[in-house]
């Protein structure tokens, strides 16, 4: 443990952590655009600068380790002025279309500009004018909104392990690109969307069938219903519709998802969904009420059991249903029908 002073208050913190990590643990807010706990520190956005007593130069808190006796100011005048300058520079080369941007309300650049009072970019001059890459089926990349934080590139490389994207050009012209600038659709990208989830601004955005503003949706934490990894995620709900998915942090997926979990949700509100019980009469399905089907099923169960014995009945329970449902299904067959003829497709 080391003793450090932050904004005049003394704390004991673990050694070998960065100032940013210490502040995060102590709930002292520090703005960052390029930081992600899961990635190696990068020190690109400079927004996490802090002032250290005895040092003239401001230091990036994400790359500077705590030391015993250190005195840190996270919001001194100098720090705030510098941060405002950085944000101003970023916003000066950014489209001013927050009103219609899908990211509005969930954008870190917007939040920090608000917090630091940057109303508009004061550096007038040429703005970038790139075309948008919308070749991927699930998300778009707008280089004009990109603040070059590098998170997407690092997530794709260090976490997803696909390395589909990188930086291209230098200086003013820099943007995120695929090899040879062929577009995402022709790259090795597997559409996991993990870069999209990491992007702090509206440069990488999921394609939306139903539009929504960030504040209109409720987020419900759940478990992916596809494979056995059981990734944790949030369903974004607007009205009675699932309009998007975002990854959740923690076990087992550490904020990562694959294409199915992340973008494979539109079956939920699909028009093909079965909406009413059906009974087949003369080879054709007819709509029925729950009471009707329940009566029919119960009578058929009783009939089969009486005529041929309980072992003439069988049930396939489901690796797709919940534990509770599987429990009830086998209980119904064993306890109420009287057979162990219950199985499911574990083998397929």
């Amino acid at each position: 443990m080391v003793r450090i002073t932050i904004n005049g208050v003394e704390y004991q913190v673990e050694d070998d952590i960065t100032i940013l990590e210490a502040c995060n643990r102590l709930d002292i807010p520090i703005p960052t655009l390029c930081h992600d706990e899961r990635l190696n520190p990068y020190g690109a956005c400079r927004l996490c600068l802090v002032e250290l007593k005895g040092k003239n130069k401001l230091e990036a808190s994400c790359t500077t380790k705590v030391r015993d006796g250190m005195e840190v100011e996270t919001h001194s005048d100098k720090v705030v002025r510098t941060r405002r300058e950085i944000l101003d520079l970023l916003f000066s080369n950014h489209p001013e279309d927050c009103l219609t941007c899908e990211k509005s309300g969930d954008c870190k650049l917007q939040d920090y500009c608000y917090e630091y009072g940057v109303e508009k970019g004061s550096y007038l001059g040429e703005k970038r004018d790139y075309s948008i890459d919308d070749s991927n089926h699930f998300y778009t990349y707008d280089p004009n909104k990109c603040i070059l934080c590098g998170k997407c590139v690092r997530v794709c490389d260090q976490l997803q392990g696909t390395s589909a994207i990188g930086f291209e050009n230098r200086g003013f012209k820099t943007k995120v690109s695929t090899p040879f600038d062929m577009g995402l659709a022709k790259s090795t990208c597997v559409s996991c969307g993990n870069c999209v989830a990491a992007c702090p601004v509206g440069a990488l955005l999921p394609k939306r069938k139903i539009r929504y503003r960030a504040w209109e949706v409720k987020k419900v934490k759940t478990t992916c219903s596809y494979c056995g990894v059981g990734c944790q995620m949030y369903l974004l709900v607007k009205g009675n519709q699932v309009v998007g998915v975002e990854p959740a942090e923690g076990k087992p997926n550490n904020g990562l998802l694959c294409v199915k979990g992340r973008f494979g949700y539109s079956f939920i509100n699909h028009t093909d969904r079965l909406k009413t019980p059906l009974i087949k009469r003369n080879g054709k399905f007819e709509e029925a009420s729950w009471e009707e089907v329940y009566d029919l099923i119960v009578s058929k169960i009783k009939e089969s059991k009486a005529k041929y014995g309980p072992n003439s009945l069988a049930g396939l329970t489901s690796a797709r249903c919940t534990n509770e449902e599987n429990y009830l299904f086998q209980k119904m067959f064993r306890a109420l029908i009287g057979t162990n003829n219950v199985d499911h497709c574990a083998r397929l």
Binding site: G161, K221, T222, S225, N269, Y294, L316, L328
Partner: protein
């Protein structure tokens, strides 16, 4: 899995066999790639040159159906070179001499010949696995969907036991479970032999315990497995079948047989979220709520019991499966009417020792891994910590056996099957997501360049595949992913469904059909 997903990052070596992890368990695949960057060694054995092969220290492109020969070959090398963990073998295993005797014949030369790989690679793989301090085995259906599936699992267990790679963090044997809750469905007694918690229906003590809680007399006769249910239905012995959330008309082998079986029934109920190929054949179809419309729990492949939560109301008149079952059970005389899944979990907890400490309150923030045997139990990150669960790990000497069908002059190729990243199972869900369908629109067959050349087939040609059970038309994809003599098809699609072709021959122990090997004939259509 005996280990946790996060322990992938603790492996010094990984042996991935019969699992195309980056496509079928993609997020585990990303952890594997992260581990490789940190220096973890990788051995991959698969009939296809899957993505992980590119990262492997050794890639063994084995012939489908030769897993045991490969593993025995590796064990042979490990024993010959005294690379096994003698201390662990002495203290924690039984039957080592017998194993030694059987694998004696599996010289790298012989194993290499059976598997169609280089013997040096077998030796290298054996060394990497045995020399690693903590090695993890990862496998999936490429191991189990064979008539020798159970034996293949045993030989993997032999490998891990003789190297002492079990019961430690980052070392173990890890089946990657395919469907989201296949683990839970097994845990909950969705098996003809097992009550919840793997308590056997034929054991009086287990049955009596459930009889006390459920207040009824329970049947002691072991029930039928899926393939047996279908056989008996075709024979007219099974009259009534209730299918909840499954689609055997696409997923099961020999679809012609499945169809005959289902249409021979007196009464078929299908409960699902879409009118599936199977539901089309039903007498009654019940509209179920999707996972977004209900509360409950799934148990993932690392035994973690996690919540799903109701985000929206069920569409139309659909109902959650648990509600439908509760309604029916009450009508069949059940004494309880559950009003929320948490009440069902409380009952599960009371009869299932490994879930005894699991309640909705406890898993609100983060899921818990079973066994979790009391209310303060933290859950179990990896299994067999206290030595081998059964006391001593029994080494089971097993021999290689040919697949039920081997190529001959009439059906000269091996057909193997699998899954794609962009589709899921029978496509009832992913088939309704536009982007996914654009990326993986239709059925195809992968054919090696040389084979295609011989048959005068080019990329994109329509080809007819025929086995002893059926015949389908699909599109050729000429590629080097598969070897000569082997063709691969994904099983997701209804049009050009590979399961018209696959073999129903079962592994006699686990009753798993040999979906991974069938002898097939290929012809170009028209031209």
């Amino acid at each position: 899995m005996t280990n946790s997903i996060e322990e992938v990052l603790d492996n010094d070596a990984m042996f991935v066999i019969g699992s195309n992890t980056t496509e079928n368990h993609p997020v585990i695949g990303t952890f594997m790639k992260q581990a490789i960057r940190r220096g973890t060694k990788l051995i991959v054995a698969d009939p296809r040159r899957i993505e992980l092969a590119d990262y492997a220290d050794v890639f063994l492109q084995i012939k489908p159906g030769t897993n045991i020969a490969l593993i025995n070959g590796m064990i042979h090398v490990i024993i010959e070179n005294k690379l096994y963990d003698r201390d662990f073998v002495d203290k924690h295993t039984e039957n080592f001499e017998e194993l030694k005797k059987v694998v004696k014949d599996y010289t790298p030369e012989l194993a290499a010949e059976i598997c169609g790989v280089d013997k040096e690679d077998i030796i290298k793989a054996a060394r990497i696995y045995a020399e690693a301090e903590r090695a993890g085995i990862y496998y999936a259906m490429g191991i189990t969907q064979h008539t020798t599936g159970t034996h293949s699992v045993m030989s993997l267990s032999n490998l891990s036991l003789i190297c002492g790679n079990i019961g430690k963090e980052g070392a173990g044997i890890n089946p990657l479970r395919g469907q989201n809750n296949v683990q839970g469905a097994c845990d909950m007694g969705g098996l003809p032999t097992d009550l919840p918690g793997y308590q056997k229906v034929f054991k009086d003590e287990a049955r009596e315990k459930f009889e006390r809680v459920w207040k009824v007399k329970l049947p002691s006769k072991v029930g039928l497995t899926v393939p047996e249910i279908l056989d008996e239905a075709e024979k007219g012995k099974i009259k009534f079948l209730y299918i909840m959330g499954e689609n055997p008309m696409v997923s099961d082998p020999d679809i012609n047989h499945v169809k005959k079986a289902l249409t021979s029934l007196d009464f078929l109920i299908v409960q699902d979220i879409f009118l599936t190929e199977t539901a089309e054949l039903a007498d009654v179809v019940l509209p179920a709520a999707s996972f977004a419309e209900k509360d409950g729990t799934f148990t993932n492949t690392e035994r973690r019991v996690q919540r799903i939560r109701k985000a929206i109301e069920p569409v139309g008149a659909a109902k959650a499966d648990w509600q439908i079952l509760t309604d029916l059970m009450v009508r069949l005389g059940h004494d309880k009417k559950y009003s929320h899944p948490s009440e069902i979990m409380d009952e599960i907890r009371s009869v299932t020792p490994s879930y005894r400490g699991i309640s909705y309150d406890r898993i609100e923030v983060e899921g818990i891994q079973w066994p979790c045997t009391y209310m303060k139990h933290p859950g179990t990150k990896y299994l067999h910590r206290e030595g081998i669960a059964r006391g001593k790990g029994l080494l089971m000497a097993v021999d290689h056996r040919d697949s039920a069908e081997v190529p001959d002059s009439e059906y000269p190729f091996i057909l193997t099957t699998g899954r794609l990243l962009y589709q899921y199972h029978t496509r009832t869900m992913t088939g309704r997501v536009d982007g996914l369908n654009k990326l993986a629109p239709e059925s195809f067959v992968e054919i090696n360049d040389a084979t295609a050349n011989k048959l005068n087939i080019s990329n994109g040609d329509k080809v007819r595949l025929t086995t002893r059970r059926g015949s389908i038309i699909t599109t050729a994809r000429v590629t080097e992913i598969v070897d000569e003599g082997v063709v691969f098809m994904p099983f997701h699609y209804t049009e050009g469904a590979v399961n018209y072709l696959t073999n129903t021959k079962l592994d006699e122990h686990a009753k798993i059909p040999e979906l991974k090997v069938a002898a097939v004939k290929i012809e170009k259509v028209g031209s």
